[in-house]
């Protein structure tokens, strides 16, 4: 028996009711939105259920939507059922002022470094993560560079020698 998107959706709505929303199938991949507080419960269900068996976390990343008031940061989980080779995508949204998300490291070991990376670039605070420090950027960095509040070319930056590029700076 094949595991179809309809089956997954039925099982999820049977368990969580209307708490899950925004079911879509872009390019055939089931995608839905969950409340931030429920992320672990949904993933635990997807992991433990004998039929669903989403036991591999392929990817974990964040997206910054500066225009969505109160839900600026999205955290996206890509889950994979290796036995049936089926993938799904789960999104949760948190406000940028208080980007607290429960860590998935207890469930998926691969979440460890991916959550560190997501923290590094977007500042998502993963509660319960064993070692939530920067992974790729320099430790002295004081901001989260992939957030869209930072302009690509910031004229107030002091680490750039603008005199070499003829666009302001100390030279003119």
């Amino acid at each position: 028996m094949d595991l179809t998107n309809e089956t997954i959706k039925e099982r999820l709505t049977g368990k969580f009711g209307d708490q899950l929303s925004q079911f879509e199938e872009p390019y055939g991949m089931l995608t839905f939105e969950a409340p931030a507080a429920l992320n672990l419960k949904v993933m635990q269900f997807l992991f433990d259920d004998t039929e669903l068996r989403f036991q591999f976390l392929t990817d974990l990343c964040a997206v910054h939507y500066p225009d969505q008031q109160g839900k600026e940061l999205a955290v996206v989980y890509h889950l994979h059922n290796l036995a049936d080779n089926v993938r799904i995508r789960m999104k949760i949204f948190v406000p940028v002022e208080k980007p607290d998300v429960f860590t998935a490291t207890q469930l998926y070991s691969s979440a460890n470094w991916m959550e560190r990376e997501t923290y590094d670039f977007y500042g998502v605070n993963f509660i319960g993560h064993p070692n939530l420090i920067r992974i790729l950027n320099v430790d002295e960095m004081e901001y989260f560079p992939m957030r869209k509040e930072f302009p690509l070319e910031d004229q107030t930056r002091i680490d750039k020698d603008d005199a070499m590029f003829g666009r302001g700076g100390s030279g003119n």
């Binding site: 790729l136 950027n137 690509l152 750039k160 020698d161 070499m164 590029f165």
Partner: protein, 210 residues
């Protein structure tokens, strides 16, 4: 095509090759064709030659530089071409690449240096013994290049002092050779006392180097 005589066969052989390498090789002219550096200025007479210590040491240093390649990206590929037989950096006395900073006197930084790599580059520089020179090859090493972003060091002169900048993205081997010759000019003309001078100490201090 039917080949009857051996001369036919030879003709066919020559005609079928559009590029005829080594058919009539030219003998290399090695007589009186050895590169020598010019003598420094001095007083000469029968059986003696007197000049200043500076120029003798400079002459020796500039023609036996040991480069340390610090290659991180595409400029490093150009440097490989520079070292290879066609451009042949060995002609300038830089035959020997040292892959240990302790032995080398010219640090050639080629490629993008990320901010996270800045301390490592500085450590390599500190491990080199005086006198040491630094060449920033390419736009990235000189200024950050196209990478105007949060992760890339905007020029290595933010961490270590640089003697010669070679522009280009990436620079051609000729440009790297030109930069190397500028380094040679600096080395040959450098005063023996420069590294003990106040100005040099101030420069080191400005980079936090004792």
């Amino acid at each position: 095509m039917k080949l009857r005589r051996s001369s036919d066969y030879l003709n066919f052989l020559y005609m079928s090759r559009p590029v005829r390498f080594n058919v009539h090789p030219i003998k290399a002219d090695i007589k009186d064709n050895i590169s020598l550096s010019d003598m420094p200025e001095g007083h000469t007479g029968e059986g003696f030659f007197a000049t200043s210590m500076n120029s003798v040491v400079g002459l020796a240093r500039k023609n036996s530089l040991w480069p340390l390649p610090f290659a991180t990206s595409c400029c490093g590929i150009e440097f490989m071409a520079t070292m290879a037989s066609h451009y042949d950096l060995a002609r300038f006395g830089a035959e020997r690449l040292g892959f240990s900073p302790r032995q080398c006197d010219l640090l050639m930084v080629m490629g993008t240096i990320a901010k996270k790599m800045g301390p490592i580059l500085k450590q390599v520089y500190l491990q080199m013994a005086e006198p040491r020179w630094v060449m920033a090859v390419g736009a990235c090493a000189a200024s950050g290049g196209i990478f105007d972003c949060y992760s890339v060091l905007q020029g290595i002169d933010q961490v270590i002092p640089v003697d010669v900048y070679v522009p280009g993205c990436p620079p051609r081997p000729e440009a790297i050779l030109d930069g190397f010759m500028r380094i040679q000019d600096l080395v040959g003309a450098e005063s023996l006392r420069r590294r003990n001078g106040e100005q040099y100490k101030e420069l080191m201090q400005s980079y936090g180097i004792q």
